[in-house]
């Protein structure tokens, strides 16, 4: 599974970073950076928490392409 950010919606509120700083970090200019995009099985529940926590509904967890 992969994290997708809708950049048109994201305003850098930072709830995702609050859920897990291993994946998400908001920079000084308010831009969200993803430290990792691929989500292993054991982190899916955590990233789902981050998706739900986003007040801007800017995050989604989608199936990545097959490698």
């Amino acid at each position: 599974m992969e994290i997708h950010v809708d950049r048109a919606r994201c305003t850098g509120i930072g709830m995702c970073e609050s859920v897990t700083a291993d994946y998400f970090e908001v920079l000084d200019d308010g831009t969200l950076v993803l430290h990792r995009v691929d989500v292993p099985e054991h982190d899916i529940a955590l990233i789902e928490d981050a998706v739900r926590a986003c007040p801007a509904a800017a995050l989604s967890l989608e199936s990545g392409h097959e490698v």
């Binding site: 305003t11 850098g12 509120i13 930072g14 709830m15 970073e17 609050s18 700083a21 970090e25 908001v26 920079l27 000084d28 200019d29 308010g30 739900r52 926590a53 007040p55 509904a57």
Partner: protein, 421 residues
């Protein structure tokens, strides 16, 4: 009767109520769920109502569709129905009009109602903001050149002022307290934030009590206690909200005598068996902040709703709810963020860059970091929130800011926060 068949009844169909429903299903609850909402709409997002909605966004942002609620979440929806009472012995919620909804477990998430100004009854052009209808009426009234008086310099008032300015209205904010936002962020940070209004050309009149709304059919201005008259085509009242709990009076559900919030324990249980509370109504002992709290913010409503449902339906999985409160606000293109509590012994501005309209303020009690307020420093706030979460010291927070700082740091400006209760 077999109570469990009555299932879960959630009273209040905004964010906290929706999150309660979603959380119940996610946790594996397969029983009946009824969601009761006073408004006719499916849950929608409130934060935009004082922001984009007033400026350029024509529709409310839905949090969930009715179809989704009914079909995906298996919810019986009772929208446009206000709760009128709760009978703990009979385990029923009574609706306006007398209809009774039995419950096995109930979650009260009826939110808050905007406080109005005394004596504004019937005068056109006087608004409060809570619902999408309120926001539509304000948006229709805001046109270039409109003279707007915003009553109350709190976050909602400030956001409305900002939106009004961006559509070309002329705005005056009238605030009763000597400094804005004292309850939310303390005097030091409140005073600092008020500068944003000055920079945007918004006049802020502090320590000003309104004695009269002028006009006969339609408002034409406000008269202040010192006799000053501020002319207005539109008056928007943003003087806070009160928990929507009047309907519970006489039910046995204990209410806070001061603010009308629902007194809960750490598990969000009310004083009445099988009844829980979430969202703006819920007052609960927040262990991580060492104080009883009631939050009026998006994050809190979402988290409380989710936790209340699991605690109500799965007692073996029940956990005490604790959180470091967090909220944000957008004024004139600036972002204000706050984590923790302003009810601390001290507040100080630790880093500040006036030119770029940036600062970080830290609140502390003893050596512990209790809260953080930032202006246009979005990279800092969640790192600070995490420090508060793990009971870090003020020193650790200062070190974090020194490591990451990009702007020169002047000597800290110390100020008095609010005394601890």
């Amino acid at each position: 009767m077999d109570g469990s068949k009555a299932g879960l009844v959630v009273v209040g169909a905004s964010l906290a109520g929706l999150r309660a429903v979603e959380s119940a299903r996610r946790a594996g609850y397969s029983g009946a769920i009824t969601l009761i909402g006073e408004e006719v709409h499916a849950p929608y997002d409130r934060p935009p109502l004082s922001k984009q909605f007033l400026v350029d966004s024509p529709n409310p942002v839905p949090l969930c569709t009715e179809e989704d609620l009914r079909e995906r979440l298996g919810v019986r929806l009772l929208l446009g129905r206000a709760a009128a009472g709760l009978d703990p012995d009979a385990h029923v919620v009574r609706l306006d009009g007398g209809h009774q909804v039995p419950y096995h477990r109930a979650i009260i998430a009826t939110g808050a109602k905007a406080r109005g100004l005394n004596g504004s009854g019937g005068l056109a052009g006087v608004h409060t903001l809570r619902t999408v209808e309120d926001a539509s009426a304000i948006r229709d009234a805001l046109t270039p050149g409109t003279r707007v008086v915003v009553v109350g310099a709190g976050f909602i008032g400030a956001e409305i002022a900002s939106s009004a300015v961006s559509v070309g209205a002329t705005v005056t904010i009238v605030e009763a307290a000597p400094a804005p936002l004292v309850r939310a962020v303390g005097e030091l940070v409140g005073t600092e934030l008020a500068r944003l209004h000055d920079l945007a050309g918004v006049r802020v009149v502090l320590g000003a009590r309104i004695t009269e709304l002028l006009g006969t059919a339609r408002v034409t201005g406000v008269r202040l206690a010192d006799g000053q008259v501020v002319r207005a085509d539109v008056v928007v009242v943003g003087i806070g909200a009160v928990p929507a709990t009047e309907w519970l009076s006489g039910s046995g559900v204990e209410l806070d005598p001061v603010d009308g919030g629902i007194v809960c324990d750490a598990f969000l249980r009310t004083s009445v068996a099988d009844v829980y509370a979430a969202g703006d109504v819920a007052s609960w002992p927040n262990a991580i902040m060492d104080q009883r709290m009631r939050m009026e913010n998006w994050t809190g409503a979402a988290e409380l709703g989710a936790r209340a449902a699991v605690n109500a339906l799965f007692p073996d999985r029940a956990t005490a709810f604790e959180t470091v409160p967090y909220f944000w606000s957008d004024w004139y293109g600036s972002r204000i963020q706050f984590a923790g509590t302003a009810l601390a012994e001290r507040a100080e501005i630790v880093t500040s860059d006036v030119e770029h309209a940036q600062f970080v303020a830290l609140y502390s009690t003893g050596s512990r970091l209790a809260g953080a307020a930032t202006l246009n420093q979005p990279a800092k706030i969640m790192k600070l929130r995490r420090l508060i979460q793990r009971r870090a010291s003020l020193d650790e927070a200062v070190q974090l800011l020194q490591r990451s700082r990009t702007v020169p740091v002047p000597e800290p400006v110390a100020g008095r926060a609010q005394p601890c209760p």
